[in-house]
Symmetry: C2
Subunit: 602 residues, 2 copies
């Protein structure tokens, strides 16, 4: 069984001390009541729920999986009860609009909660996660009637939602979808087609399931400009929201897959199912994308959550497991062997996990708080600036944090040696669960293309400025302090490489988009490493003054916390950030080495 306690100290530190939550989030109009005290209460309640209700059914849920029979899907033992409690405790309604029964709390809190959920039970988190995605799409693009019918049910969790995009022959390229929508006389549509990989497409947790379905109208222009978005409920509701007759949508089978086994991944067959158009015809892709940004941030946070559990478990094991002796001589000569945490290579693994997780959490919450500003800031320019930062950083959060989630789950597993490969220890489940996060909501390769192909050029580089300007200003403000040099110099070096690579891609990519494509995934990593260097240095600025003149174990209980921050920042600069130079060299080698071979030569 894995070891996990919600990292509330680190979350509080980041929100309150680094990102000034009380001002930057709770200071926004509408969030006046979401004070740091409320934040604290939500954090503690959320931690308790996740640790006590979700974690205990995670390993058993993986072993049991979902079961399919005759169109019905049964979730593993305990999921129904946990979902019931989840709804009753108000976790589905946290960031929903009070107009529909929601608590109207900031998105920042939703992101924090999602980390905790994913640390303890990613499979479980899929069900409310998908509902929340459907909620967002409907809230933004649905009609008033649609909103008042569906949003209260999604808010209280009695109905769940899905996103039905992928078909057997297309996932990334949704322009190819074949699902059809024929207009009916009553203003609704008849949807027919097959969707695959539909998370939460069928299950036994809720009384109804609201499918949001991409389909083509008869007069649709070809490709992605001809796709419309429809609501297709499993049971047709009355106007008052009571559940009526079964609609023509059924689950044909569920997938046998590598991980997230307690999350049902369904083939959904739509056979003349009744559906209702969301927004205008042919704008489905646009609607999906507005929702997808939030979903992609949430997936990045999934990677972070899994890595945190892997880290805590690896630390506990490394302190407990005794093998061999410290290289400098027995650390605990009275015992038969030393705990493996004495070994530098084990230590390196733990420090790497810690440096990337804490830096990654800073990245996620930096962008997370910007989501709230983008929505609620009274100044339109500030809203736009925040929105630009979110748009720029979303592919980076998604791809980098999920790559990190997978890498670090594996690192944690490795610390366990052979026991890491055995189901009962829980580590191999983290690895299998983490693997999907690199693939869904747009593979990480697609995220990198989004970054170089869309985000870099958008508004003549307007988005980029939301990262480049503050980092530049931060470096200038701190570069004269000799005590900061060990942090600011490597940051500045990596930042210079990022600027140079950005200019190179912008220039080369104009003449030949394949050059941008060839650089894309290495560039995204270089960007992420630089962003983490920036955020680590910001943490140093916050933590350094709070250390009691280097006195270890001083009366101030926080000193150890802040000393650990500095030590971890130093590790990041010395042993993680150097990867940025290799990435830079690879980027600047251009597309030629990749594209030299004809496809037939493979």
């Amino acid at each position: 069984m894995v070891t996990y306690a919600a990292p509330l100290d680190d979350i509080r530190y980041l929100l309150n001390e680094v990102f000034d939550y009380g001002k930057t989030v709770a200071g926004l109009p509408g969030y006046e009541e979401a004070t740091p005290e409320i934040l604290d209460a939500v954090l503690e309640e959320g931690a308790r729920f996740c640790e006590n209700e979700l974690l205990p059914i995670n390993l058993s849920g993986d072993a049991e999986g979902c079961h399919y029979e005759n169109g019905v899907v049964r979730t593993p033992k305990g999921f129904k009860e946990a979902y019931q409690a989840f709804c009753e405790n108000g976790w589905t309604s946290l960031a929903c609009d009070p107009a529909y029964g929601g608590q109207g709390l900031p998105k920042t809190l939703q992101f924090v909660l999602e980390e905790l959920i994913c640390s303890t039970n990613l499979s479980f988190g899929m069900y409310p996660g998908l509902s929340h995605g459907a909620y967002n799409a409907l809230e933004l693009h649905g009609s008033d009637a649609q909103k008042s019918l569906y949003l209260p049910k999604l808010t209280d969790g009695s109905w769940s939602g899905t996103m039905c995009l992928t078909e057997p022959h297309c996932g990334t390229d949704l322009g190819l979808i074949k699902t059809k929508a024929e207009p009916d006389e009553d203003g609704s549509y008849r949807i027919s087609g097959t969707k695959i990989f539909i998370s939460a497409g069928e299950h036994d947790l809720t009384e109804n399931i609201v499918h949001l379905v991409l389909a083509k109208l008869p007069d649709a222009p070809p490709g992605s400009r001809g796709i419309s978005l429809f609501i297709v409920p499993k049971f047709l509701p009355d106007a008052d929201g009571s559940v009526g007759p079964r609609n023509g949508v059924r689950c044909g089978s569920i997938e046998k897959k590598m991980g997230i086994k307690a999350s049902s991944t369904c083939v959904m067959n739509f056979d003349d199912a009744q559906g209702w158009l969301i927004g205008e015809p042919h704008k489905g892709m646009r609607y999906m994308f507005t929702m997808m940004n939030v979903a992609r941030l949430a997936v990045g946070i999934q990677g972070l959550g899994l890595a945190e559990t892997a880290y805590q478990s690896a630390v506990a094991y490394a302190k407990d497991r005794r093998q061999g002796r410290a290289l400098k001589g027995a650390a605990e000569p009275e015992a038969a062997a030393d705990p493996i945490i004495v070994h530098p290579d084990v230590r390196k693994n733990l420090m790497r996990m810690r440096a990337i997780i804490e830096g990654g959490r800073a990245l996620a919450l930096w962008v997370g708080t910007a989501v709230d500003r983008a929505e609620k800031h009274p100044d339109p320019e500030a809203r736009q600036a925040a929105d630009d930062l979110v748009a720029l950083m979303t592919p980076i959060v998604k791809a980098y944090l999920t790559d990190a989630g997978f890498e670090l789950s594996n690192t944690g597993q490795q610390v366990f040696g052979g026991h890491g490969y055995i189901h009962e220890w829980g580590m191999e489940q983290l690895v299998r669960d983490a693997r999907i996060t690199q693939i869904y909501e747009g593979t990480n390769g697609i995220q990198a293309l989004d970054l170089v192909g869309r985000k870099l050029g958008q508004g003549m580089g307007r988005l980029l400025r939301q990262f480049f300007h503050p980092v530049q200003a931060f470096i200038e403000a701190n570069q004269t302090d000799p005590e900061m040099a060990e942090f600011v110099l490597p940051l500045a070096k990596s930042f210079a490489k990022l600027q140079q690579a950005t200019a190179w891609i912008a220039q080369q990519g104009l003449a030949d988009p394949e050059e941008a494509g060839a650089a894309s995934s290495d560039y995204l990593k270089l960007f992420a490493l630089t962003a983490l260097a920036y955020l680590w240095t910001r943490m140093v600025v916050v933590s350094k003054p709070q250390i009691n003149g280097g006195m270890k174990g001083a009366a101030n209980g926080d000193t150890a916390f802040h000393e650990a921050k500095l030590a971890t920042a130093r590790f990041y600069m010395a042993r993680v950030l150097p990867e940025s130079s290799a990435l830079f060299t690879a980027i600047m080698a251009g597309k030629k080495p990749l594209m030299a071979l004809d496809a037939e030569a493979f």
Copy 2:
């Protein structure tokens, strides 16, 4: 289902053209009959067997797994028949001594065969693989009576073998084992204790199982100097080899694990089991280690084999799957979309797989042929030199190729997008199976410690010279050719970094072994990347003259093969090797960033 055809062209190219097999292996005394023609025949027969018999039961074996009931283990459907055919076709006896019924072929052929087996069915390969390990240990250290009783049965495959090392509280640190061996009056011993993670510990493939068991005699000195090695057969054999009564060893359970599910991983309970001492008392660890080197090379080759299947499958999928358009405009405008192999990021993934696999195969076969020279070369100095190279490179082959096997299986899976996560496509199985290779036969962290802690210092750096001298000479011989500069310069640069890091570790490690430990795993990777750069440049030297003046599709059918070698070498230098500079920087940062935090701070 995965796509696989044994890469015989590449294997032939490496053995015949790069490593001059006809002279360096078939020219050894005793291997006169193992001509390149025999090699060819073995390769083709082996490929046929693996493709037709082992691959078809790989995915089903994973789904079904092994089943345990009342001490009996049932392997999945088809395994018994495949094992029968495997023995009848002589694959168990390939590299065994003719004195015991073996074919006496070179170890090189055994390594090549093992790649093919692991590409098609790693779980299956575990059974004969473990037997071969037991064969090697007995052949080197058993008495004549033991050899004539057990080796013919291991050679013809009617009996299988195991290595019983790990116990619940110890794996890496075998000095802690508790299993006891009490001398009996008849010269045998009574073995009692519990061993875990015993691959092939119990199964239904053979009529008997020969356990090689580490245990402590009553007078054993403490720690790893007090461990002895015993033969403990499942059924006690008569002197003529017919199977007699059941011995006191039973399988208590099998593990539920992440992968290699068709390989039984057993808890073995020894309860006054009759055993016979191998060699002298208290020398069991030494005996295990002589065998372990070969086993570690074989595990490295497992990683290679899995990566090859992932590569071929990803190539097939990337040519078949159509999503989106080439960034420069439609490549196949008449189709609805282009095959994804047009995308630079997909291409980068495929090229990376190819560059590391082909370079890794060169590494494995370079060391593999040295195993034969170390055993059979008539000149004792040449034997020693070859043995030194094998000893030096073994941890590198094991750790680097298994890390690569896992990384590249994941890369292949990623090319499949969502389909890669679904069982029926076979890609996620490759990932799960590959994961164990980084852990067993000594975790990759332990391999790195073996490299810096044992191999670097051995004989005052004598082992190192077997790598440093030929590479130095090769660079000098080729550095004046301007056409070779694009390969020799990056090689020389990485080699210089490796030399510098080696000197640094040797110096720092003397004063503080934790410095060597802190550098170990990054150093091993730097070493491996440099070794691959060396081998890629050697391949360029072989292939370059065979290209017809750059005429593509020229009459010479091999031109495309050699052109691809050069293109892949260029990719390696431009987009893989740059990682060595980041590793160098990380190594030179020393242990301080790792060890700054107290254990309690984690």
